[in-house]
């Protein structure tokens, strides 16, 4: 299975602190994506990092990718209460023309005001 595994499963921090979530996967990839899900809602794309990239930034988000360890991390800096959500990594299995994304179990992030 190429499925990603997020770690930790749940994370609770104080507003203003940084939140780090990790993802490990099993197969090769073309790219890895992170998505956010508010409770009871659909997933929303946050950021994509390609297999030849090591780090990417978008606003308060920083994603790293280590293909030798088959792992990625998502850092949210200066967290806000509105960041409370579940965060999922998704991989494409590294197959050319691959169409599906496979999602991990997710990390439930709670930001306490």
């Amino acid at each position: 299975s190429q499925q990603g595994e997020e770690d930790p499963q749940a994370l609770s921090i104080q507003e203003g602190e940084n939140a780090t979530m990790n993802c490990s996967y099993k197969t090769s990839i073309n790219n890895l994506q992170w998505y956010r899900q508010n409770s009871g809602r659909g997933l929303v794309h946050l950021i994509l990092i390609r297999s030849n990239e090591r780090e990417k930034h978008s606003g308060r988000l920083r994603v790293t990718l280590d293909t030798s360890k088959k792992s990625s991390s998502l850092l949210i800096t200066a967290s806000r209460a509105a960041d409370t959500a579940s965060y999922f990594c998704a991989t494409d299995g590294g197959i050319q023309g691959a169409q599906k994304l496979v999602f991990g179990q997710g990390t439930r992030l709670t930001i306490n005001p």
Partner: protein
Amino acid sequence: EPEVTQTPSHQVTQMGQEVILRCVPISNHLYFYWYRQILGQKVEFLVSFYNNEISEKSEIFDDQFSVERPDGSNFTLKIRSTKLEDSAMYFCASRFGAEGEKLFFGSGTQLSVL
């Protein structure tokens, strides 16, 4: 921003009944997907659809499931004879290209099988 829309938002059905979940993907997208999520847990791939045919399906997507794109806008998931374990949130998603592009998800249909 364009949206993927799903109807209904909630569906309650009796075991053994047929249900059809409906989705309107973003208009210029070419790749369509159904995923499901049980009780806020992992998001599971069901099926991908491109060029009017299924391109990949998971083990979950057995003979009880089917998908259709009956016209240029709708994309449906049919469950022929629902089971209790089909109770889940079903998400439709679409994207323009296959690789290196993000998925756009609908808000989901919560299916409850009684």
